[in-house]
Symmetry: C2
Subunit: 512 residues, 2 copies
Amino acid sequence: MQGWAPAARGSSRCLWLLKMSVLFLALGIVLFMFRSVYLYPESSSSKAPLPQPSLAAGMLKLLPEEHVESLFTHDGIWLFPKNQCKCEAWKHQESYNFENAYGQTDLPAVKMRRQAEFEHFQRREGLPRPPPLLAQANLPFGYPVHGVEVMPLHTIPIPGLQFEGPDAPIYKVTLKASLGTLNTLADTPDNVVQGRGQKQLTILTSSRKVLNFILQHVTYTSTEYQHHRVDVVSLESNSSVAKFPVTIRFPVMPKLYDPGPERKLRNLVSIATKTFLRPHKLMTMLQSIREYYPDLTVIVADDSKEPLKINDSHVEYYTMPYGKGWFAGRNLAISQVTTKYVLWVDDDFLFSDKTKIEVLVDVLEKTELDVVGGSVLGNTFQFKLFLEHSKNGDCLHRRTGFFRPLDGFPNCVVTSGVVNFFLAHTERLQRVGFDPRLQRVAHSEFFIDGLGSLLVGSCPDVIIGHQPHSPVEDPDLAALEKTYSIYRANTNNEIQFKLALHYFKNRLQCAT
Amino acid sequence: MQGWAPAARGSSRCLWLLKMSVLFLALGIVLFMFRSVYLYPESSSSKAPLPQPSLAAGMLKLLPEEHVESLFTHDGIWLFPKNQCKCEAWKHQESYNFENAYGQTDLPAVKMRRQAEFEHFQRREGLPRPPPLLAQANLPFGYPVHGVEVMPLHTIPIPGLQFEGPDAPIYKVTLKASLGTLNTLADTPDNVVQGRGQKQLTILTSSRKVLNFILQHVTYTSTEYQHHRVDVVSLESNSSVAKFPVTIRFPVMPKLYDPGPERKLRNLVSIATKTFLRPHKLMTMLQSIREYYPDLTVIVADDSKEPLKINDSHVEYYTMPYGKGWFAGRNLAISQVTTKYVLWVDDDFLFSDKTKIEVLVDVLEKTELDVVGGSVLGNTFQFKLFLEHSKNGDCLHRRTGFFRPLDGFPNCVVTSGVVNFFLAHTERLQRVGFDPRLQRVAHSEFFIDGLGSLLVGSCPDVIIGHQPHSPVEDPDLAALEKTYSIYRANTNNEIQFKLALHYFKNRLQCAT
């Protein structure tokens, strides 16, 4: 019996060791599991099944349409992308369906011509723009999200390229362009960088530091003379692909005007007007200008029958074919301006001490506005334009009033259209122009053409007068005014023509 | 001794167990280490020190400048970003330093005025553009890299928003905008989405599925009437931040022309010209037009002393102040065009059976060109323009020749400038315009103003003739031609004026 004692003692010590080692083993395994689940969730998660939001599943619903409409409605218009926009008469607004300007028999052919012309326009403008590039999550690359631009045939360094993926014995990163070629300013052996000066550049190296040095100095070269084109450059490693745009274009050429050393008003502003069959009104207007601005250049476009004699060395007088029309004359007048700004006035306006051109100049000098209107005897004629896109032509909505006050000028506002008394940046005004196809009554057509090009403001405190409508005694002048009034009438044909022009030229569908 | 046997047997069995368990333990630990290093390198790498590329460090050098220059040099010009560009006379080219057009005493003041005007121009154009947004690597978000656009005061859904970060008991994602407001079309309890309709939107949920549903339906609303502005929207979770641009702008309004049901040439093309003190040349040109194109509208701008009588119902005749100038007249003429295309001709050209306008129309209809020139008795006057940016004004380089053949028209090429016989998209031509400040000899000035706006081509096979330079018998006409030749002379003052215009208006520094 005694003999067992040591054995027993031995086996118990062994059991203890056994227990301890099993404990360690278990601990190791527990630690192993713990580590994998909690310390590196991003790695384990990749295998973990998606969480089951039993409660959440019920929550996956969208707001009811009427709620979305109420959220994004402005001035009674739901400004949210739709397949089809409508022009429902709103409050006291009328609504126009521009198709009606054409006969039902002509319409199908007109629609086809309009679509063909629109496609040609889009092709030249580079439209429709490509859909947004979507970045995937967890890409191992740094890259420029947007804003990389190159002039045709020029080379630019591409900023921000970087690789931060997993360590690997060998790194392989491939860049691909489609319109231009790629290279790197890094000086490396040929086996490290392949495809220099080609559309596909491949980097092969065992050093992350070398890889990123090469990436930091990658260049893009525009190899064809192209303009307003977007190349999508891709950056690949294993299954990860990052894409970013490179825009190929020339910058817009500045067209600056020298105001001269003294910044005299006559070196900054010209006055432009159009006249037709009412010389007495024009002369009265010119006299009123000279009372306040003796030396400003005044440009007059005249499509009357008889040319006038105007004895004023600062008046430039142009004659046009008889009755060529209202916007043709306006376009002629602004085409001759050589100063930074041009002030538009009608030929029957009247300058007064409230007609402060300097104030309007100050507004354009200190803001980003392209056009700023005053008021004609208190009438500012402010209106806002809204556009809704749709497949078969856009919907245009017009509302009286303004969008917001003008920063820095508490008495002025930002709007879409103003009265026929405004100061404009000459170069901007010429870019939009007055469509010479509009021969008779026309006004807001100019501001519609200017949508997207002109930022318009209105300052009611700058006021111009209007000559009285009282009939003239002189029989010849009376006769002229009679003829004038015929041309001035907004006939039904005129209206039909303008509606057709909106339908075809501006590719509008309807308006309210 | 025998008594020991069982004990010995017992202890040996124990030792075996001990060995096995230690083996397991070791195995567990080895497996543990192995797993951490090889199965999840991306997690371990985050702690691992950067690799030491002892060999690589030496490789981190850039290509020598002369090599970079040779890589990116085109037509002898190094087209690569530099702080300062130069205009070194190249081959037989002369070089101009535009500053020299001003007196040294005036120059400092001129420079200040030019800088002030340039800054005003940039402010209105939204320049300089913001630097490229750089995406960091390994962001847990999907998002739109570029191309998201919204009209002022409109709302758009933001595509591609997604969260693919680590699992967590609670997900918190924050979106921030600066110019507009954010919302989501997802219908959720208030505690899940906070800040609807505000500049900061916060999503709090325990369900990844719910989070991504909400993200997929996030909207951006432009709340102020702004134009050509870029808002940078950020998407944040913990320390990860993704940023993407939302551009606020109106689309450019189309200005389409209806070619009419039969697509008659007279409904597609008008001819425009400018004349001065040589009626006989103009009349000869008009007669030659009528031989081949009896009913095309011809627009004539005339700044001679005496107005002409032209008996042609399809000629529109405009008179200008005497000697108003060459580009003023050209600008007047194109301001009156009401057809899709306008053909420019000088008043001393001569139409022949090789003057095929239809061919030029076909080129503009089928390509993206804005302007296509023909040849005057074989002279195409093709030249290329290159621009280099620099702080104090850009460098302009002019080289004869063309960039590339025109796709689809093997006999035509793409270039920057052509001869005074070209067909143009009326609307594009009017957008650039002919600067009325250029009164006398001027030609390439128009194509310089058009850089960035006009894509120009040249088709030598369409040929117009030129009237003989032989002197006239008629003494009156001879007198006129004598006066004409005085105006036509490119005097030193004229040249100085043009150089000054490039310096101030186009903000150019020099040219070769």
